[in-house]
């Protein structure tokens, strides 16, 4: 947590994420185990209701584990509250703080550790980096979808997380801007350089943002590999259909 680490361009060696989670959501029990190493993002893909988001919530500590464990490097996160996990989570519809400006949203994590002035100053490089400087004084309700996504990402990364989780980052965007934003997001994820897990139901997102794919169906992992490996040998009808649909 040095000063250097607080800058967007800082990229030291980052630990891997080891997740082995069992959580229940209603009647569905969700079990998934995977490792993610830095600079090789993993896409968790699957149909609606498969439990993808629950896996992210479990890793972030927002829902309790039934069993299993989560580690970052050698650090065990079991029993740690979300605020002490150093895991950044970008929500599906971003969940920005509606009462705070863009600047204060991005400064939020720093603000939790210190004074307001220092936090605002620390937010500046992030605002520059994500092209948000001109929007610094706006409120979330005054932002477009793409702008909101940038704020959400900047807000999460300004907290200096060791692991970044993205929940359906494209789904709240208009179709016209998706391709452009996907490229931009891929750049930011690469720059982050830490272990990254992304939940999506789109093979296109997975292809652009991740190195490998984990397929989750009805709470169970049904296949794992690169997209090419999945194409070569789809393990389930869902995988087959999904890949076929995205080929169009």
């Amino acid at each position: 947590m040095t000063d250097a680490a607080a800058r967007p361009d800082a990229a030291g060696p980052r630990p891997a994420l080891h997740a082995d989670v069992v959580v229940s959501r209603g009647d569905l029990e969700i079990a998934a185990a995977f490792d993610v190493v830095p600079r090789h993002p993993l896409a968790v893909i699957g149909p609606n209701g498969a439990g993808k988001s629950s896996v992210l919530s479990a890793i972030a500590g927002l829902v309790p584990l039934e069993s299993g464990r989560v580690r970052i490097g050698t650090r065990t996160l079991d029993g740690l509250p979300p605020e002490r996990r150093r895991i950044g989570l970008v929500f599906q519809d971003y969940v920005l703080f509606p009462h705070l400006t863009v600047r204060d949203n991005v400064a939020f994590a720093t603000r939790m550790r210190g004074g307001r002035t220092a936090a605002r100053a620390a937010a500046d490089p992030w605002l520059e980096r994500y092209g948000l400087a001109p929007l610094a004084g706006r409120y979330p309700a005054e932002l477009s979808g793409g702008q909101a996504q940038r704020v959400a990402l900047a807000r999460a990364l300004a907290a200096e997380p060791e692991v970044l989780l993205l929940d359906e980052p494209m789904s709240a965007l208009d179709v016209e801007v998706r391709a452009e934003m996907r490229t931009e997001l891929a750049t930011h994820v690469r720059e982050f350089g830490g272990a990254t897990v992304l939940v999506t139901h789109s093979p296109a997102d997975a292809a652009a943002l991740a190195d490998s794919v984990l397929v989750l169906e009805a709470g169970r992992v049904t296949q794992r590999g690169t997209l090419d490996e999945l194409r070569a040998a789809p393990a389930t009808p869902y995988v087959e259909r999904m890949l076929a649909a995205s080929a169009d």
Binding site: G61, P82, E83, F97, P98, F108, M112, A159
Partner: protein, 265 residues
């Protein structure tokens, strides 16, 4: 709009409006306007006004400090089993539906010198509660706290809980989540609740006269002064009532614009 109302609805609505508007209107009409400056400058009136404002302000502050956390508990209780949830809700609702004079009697029995707590307070600290300005504030807190709690609870329930989760992932402790996210998000509800709370405290009569008594400058608030003046000097009573009416209207109008914009959108 009016054209779409059937006539029985329109008539009933008109009567309802008359029921609400006519009594204050009568107060304004019968007010001794010419003597008003002299009446309002009387020491007994100013004393009651100052006392009422001070106690209602203090009561509102106490309600804020205690009521917001209680509202948070109540909002959280949505996940609780039915029985404790209902008991909690009923406990907060009771003072709302209880005649204030009953509340006054109840407080007298609890905090009076023969009451279980009042006796201890007197034995240990030599403190007696009834017939003090503190008793006025307590009575006001008792009757006005539920207004604040329910206003804030409504705001809490409608606020997106995920903003709290997002704050937690950004390193905010529970207290910080409450202080920097929950509280600002429910600020409009808190403001509305505080206004209701203040006006209710200002108008409090039954619990106060029962529990705190009536002594000029100490426990005789505007409503009590107005009630007593009605027996000896109706003009003064009307002047006091007018003062209460004016304060309520001013507070309501003055704060409305501040809480309505709420979360900027």
């Amino acid at each position: 709009m009016a054209g779409r109302l059937s006539w029985p609805v329109a008539v009933a609505a008109g009567i309802a409006l008359a029921v609400l508007v006519l009594p204050p209107a009568a107060l304004v009409l019968r007010a001794p306007w010419a003597d008003l400056p002299e009446l309002l400058a009387r020491e007994s009136v100013i004393q009651a006004l100052v006392l009422s404002f001070a106690t209602a302000t203090l009561a509102t502050a106490i309600c804020l400090v205690l009521g917001v956390p209680l509202a948070a508990l109540l909002a959280r209780a949505a996940d609780w089993p039915t029985l404790p949830r209902r008991v909690l809700r009923a406990a907060v609702t009771v003072p709302l539906v209880l005649p204030p004079v009953v509340g006054g009697i109840a407080m007298l029995l609890l905090l009076g010198r023969r009451g279980p707590i009042g006796r201890l307070l007197e034995e240990w600290f030599g403190v007696t509660v009834p017939f003090t300005t503190g008793a006025v504030v307590l009575a006001q807190v008792f009757v006005s706290l539920p207004f604040l709690v329910f206003a804030v609870e409504g705001a809490l329930r409608s606020a997106d809980r995920r903003t709290e989760l997002a704050a937690a992932t950004l390193g905010a402790s529970r207290w910080q989540v409450f202080r920097f996210v929950t509280l600002p998000l429910v600020a409009p509800g808190v403001a509305a609740g505080a206004v209701l709370c203040f006006t209710r405290a200002l108008g409090e009569f039954g619990a106060t006269i029962t529990f705190a008594g009536s002594l000029p400058g100490v426990t005789r608030t505007l409503p009590i002064a107005s009630y007593l003046a009605m027996q000896s000097d109706p003009d003064e009573a009307i002047a006091l009532a007018l003062l209460l009416l004016a304060v309520s209207v001013i507070v309501l109008l003055g704060l409305r614009d501040r809480w309505l914009p709420g979360v900027r959108a």
